[in-house]
């Protein structure tokens, strides 16, 4: 398949692995930020191909994993209402809230639907004028343009029965939070290619300068990731700390200005709580005042709460790259994809689920 097979070629992969092995003279710890990259790393067995010097740690870039428990509970509260059709991306449905998930709400009679784009939810709202249609707008900068577009469309069409439950988070503040932690072990980053397709690369220069770390904007196919690792290792060995773009077939430095303009119109920056990590300043988006009418939290009068995570779950440490999933005492025992304690076991992009599915033999 064109544009896929070229990036999964075993011979090219072997050459990059050799180049990485030749270049690395000592141990380096590199974090891939994005859950999609984590998924590819475990799906293609990339870590096993790398020399022992290179340790990959899996970052907080899975939107399903970092959506806070309180927000999942709010989604469940809204989805339970008789007048609501609740729309979501598929993998949010299995995320455990305080006492159930959205799949359970559906089994109990709630109208919970999987959509492939938020614009489908707008269509559902148009087709069901007597229902309140709510879309669960989660994700990083990648999903933001389409989510913003859905709200904008609702406003243009004067759709009064559409709203969004927003739980948007941003990558650069998360990198900053990780680098500022006294326990940080990360020496270089593979930044999330698709996030940069939208936002460009300008936010990363100051981070690379301030913290003296190389940041390589990287794609999602195995060859992308291997090349990204190679570029990162070369910078580390050279003592450089620059922003480089491995994923230049998709990412321009300026990003996508049209998408950014829409995002800036529809959203405004706020502090956000990250599941397992906690509050990070200026790390998320909510609807701007112009579009606040479409805020589901406001429409349904939901109150902010603060809920503790299950004690056995170390997903917060996993999301910060401080622990590997297999270091968790509950991993593969009390916590499995069928019975997840934390969100990192739920999503296919979550580090724990990825480890469980693809690397079971390495469990502690």
């Amino acid at each position: 398949m064109k544009y896929v097979d070229e990036y999964r070629d075993p011979e090219t992969a072997r050459k990059y692995v050799e180049a990485i092995s030749r270049t690395a003279t000592r141990p380096w710890t590199i974090m891939e930020v994005c859950g999609g990259q984590t998924h590819a790393i475990v799906r293609f067995g990339i870590q096993d191909l790398l020399p022992d010097e290179i340790e990959l740690v899996h970052g907080p870039g899975c939107p399903v994993c970092v959506t806070p428990l309180e927000m999942v509970d709010k989604a469940i509260e809204i989805a339970t209402r008789d007048e609501v059709i609740f729309c979501s991306f598929g993998d949010m449905l299995r995320v455990p809230g305080s006492d159930k998930d959205l799949l359970t709400v559906r089994a109990e009679g709630g109208d919970v639907r999987i959509v492939y784009t938020p614009l489908d939810a707008v269509k559902i709202a148009t087709d069901n004028p007597d229902k309140q249609v709510v879309f669960f707008a989660v994700g990083f900068e990648t999903t933001a343009p389409a989510n913003a577009m859905s709200v904008h469309m609702a406003k243009v069409r004067d759709l009064n029965n559409f709203s969004v439950l927003v739980s948007h988070v941003l990558v650069p503040p998360a990198i900053e939070a990780i680098m500022s932690s006294p326990e940080n072990r990360v020496q270089g980053f593979l930044a999330a290619g698709h996030v940069c397709t939208v936002m460009g690369t300008h936010a990363y220069g100051p981070l690379a300068n301030t913290y003296g770390i190389p940041i390589v904007v990287t794609g999602f196919e195995p060859i992308d990731i291997l090349q990204g690792i190679y570029m990162c290792v070369r910078q580390l060995e050279d003592g450089r700390a620059e922003v480089e773009n491995q994923y230049d077939r998709a990412v321009r430095d300026v990003g996508n200005p049209a998408a950014q303009a829409l995002i800036n119109k529809v959203f405004r920056v706020i502090p956000r709580k990250w599941r397992g990590i906690g509050m990070i300043a200026e790390s998320g988006w909510t609807l701007s005042d112009t579009y606040a009418y479409y805020d589901a939290e406001r429409r349904f009068g939901l109150i902010d709460t603060d809920i503790a995570e299950p004690e056995d779950c170390i997903s917060g440490l996993v999301l910060q790259g401080l622990k590997k999933p297999s270091a968790c005492p509950a991993f593969g025992k009390q916590c499995t994809p069928d019975h997840p304690l934390g969100a990192t076991m739920v999503s296919g992009e979550g580090a724990c689920a990825a480890y469980y599915r693809y690397r079971k033999e390495k469990a502690a």
Binding site: R8, P10, D48, P63, V64, D91, G348, R357, Y358, E361
Partner: protein, 349 residues
């Protein structure tokens, strides 16, 4: 795949008195009698059915009889490459075939939803007729119930199949041996993607047709050629991934498969990439895994290729860790291929 054009789909005229199924069609009275006579008898007609008895008295050839049952629920009822009727016959035919049994008789139980268009039922029944004929099976007994509107998805079908094993061969996971080769009978994942595409209205899956098909002929050809088939299993829900895990666990052996050797149509692969689905977990309805000794590999492949050109060896059985399935990835890494979690949920991005 069942050719929709190979039979007349026009409903017999009297049924237009009742263009939709009513509760009375399952009530045991005159309306039900007409439904049986004008739809089911008209389509499935055979000597046993004509006797109008409460059950079917079967004549079985020599051999070991096999019975299997399955219920079919699918939305939408019609999808590219098949429909619930073809599925309900082929699914049960295939369960018999996987035991090495020649399919002979079928019972059919319908649960119909009040308000179902009679024409829809007629099309499904005709599709079942064609599929049963293709498999050489007779539909010899059945039942119909009608549930209130809103209590069903149009049509649910249960079929029970009876077949007979006409030789002494033992086909079961416990017969799998170290060194055996693992063969898949064709490209995987078509059915799941065709149904998902039709259900969700996904434009990029419109070219994908279900692989829904009977498998007995391919199995029969292998048995006739005296291939020492150790185990067979059709890949349905959970896809190839579930089959490999089930068999490795039941056999207490390790399976090693090679990702690059697993045949997947480009359209199916593309759709799975877009949706973030693992094609190895996507359902098939006309594909099976055959596990045979290495010595029979060439002959088995030759026979299977005559039925589907994509049939290929994808891996082998080792005595590593009991129940483990490993996958050599496209770029040469290796990973565990674990049992699917359940419902396939498209990823966010």
């Amino acid at each position: 795949m069942i050719e929709a054009k190979s039979f007349a789909i026009t409903c017999p005229l009297p049924l237009f008195d009742h263009p939709r199924i009513k509760l009375a069609h399952g009530g045991g009275g005159r309306l039900m009698q007409r439904l049986i006579n004008d739809v089911f008898m008209a389509a499935f007609d055979n000597t046993t059915l004509r006797e109008g008895h409460d059950g079917a008295v079967l004549e079985l050839p020599n051999g070991r009889p096999v019975i299997t049952t399955d219920s079919y629920v699918v939305r939408p009822l019609f999808f590219p490459g098949g429909d619930i009727g073809a599925l309900a016959v082929n699914g049960t035919v295939n369960d018999l075939a996987m035991c090495g049994a020649r399919p002979l008789y079928l019972s059919v139980s319908f649960i119909l939803e009040e308000g179902l268009e009679t024409e829809t039922l007629w099309r499904v029944v005709q599709s079942m007729r064609v599929a049963a004929n293709a498999a050489g099976m007779e539909i010899v007994t059945g039942d119909t119930k009608v549930v209130e509107r809103g209590h069903g998805d149009g049509i649910y079908i249960n079929t029970t199949g009876v077949g007979v094993i006409e030789n002494e061969i033992r086909i079961k996971p416990q017969c799998i041996r170290k060194g055996d080769v693992i063969i898949v009978s064709g490209d995987i994942g078509r059915h799941g993607m065709a149904v998902m595409g039709a259900r969700e209205g996904l434009a990029f899956t419109t070219l994908i047709e279900s692989d829904c098909a009977p498998l007995w002929k391919a199995v029969s050809a292998m048995l006739s050629a005296r291939i020492d088939v150790h185990c067979l299993r059709d890949a349905t829900r959970g896809g190839l991934c579930a089959v490999l895990n089930e068999l490795a666990q039941a056999a207490g052996l390790q399976f090693d498969v090679v990702e690059r050797d697993i045949p997947v149509a480009a359209s199916v692969r593309g759709a799975c990439e877009v949706l973030g689905l693992d094609v190895l977990q996507v359902a098939c309805e006309g594909r099976f895994v055959a596990i045979v000794p290495k010595s029979d590999e060439e002959q088995a492949i030759e026979i299977m290729k005559a039925h589907n050109d994509a049939a290929v060896v994808i891996g082998r059985v080792t005595d590593g860790e009991a129940g483990l399935v490993t996958l050599q990835t496209a770029i040469g890494g290796r990973r565990i291929l674990d049992m699917p979690a359940g419902e396939l949920l498209p990823r966010i991005c």
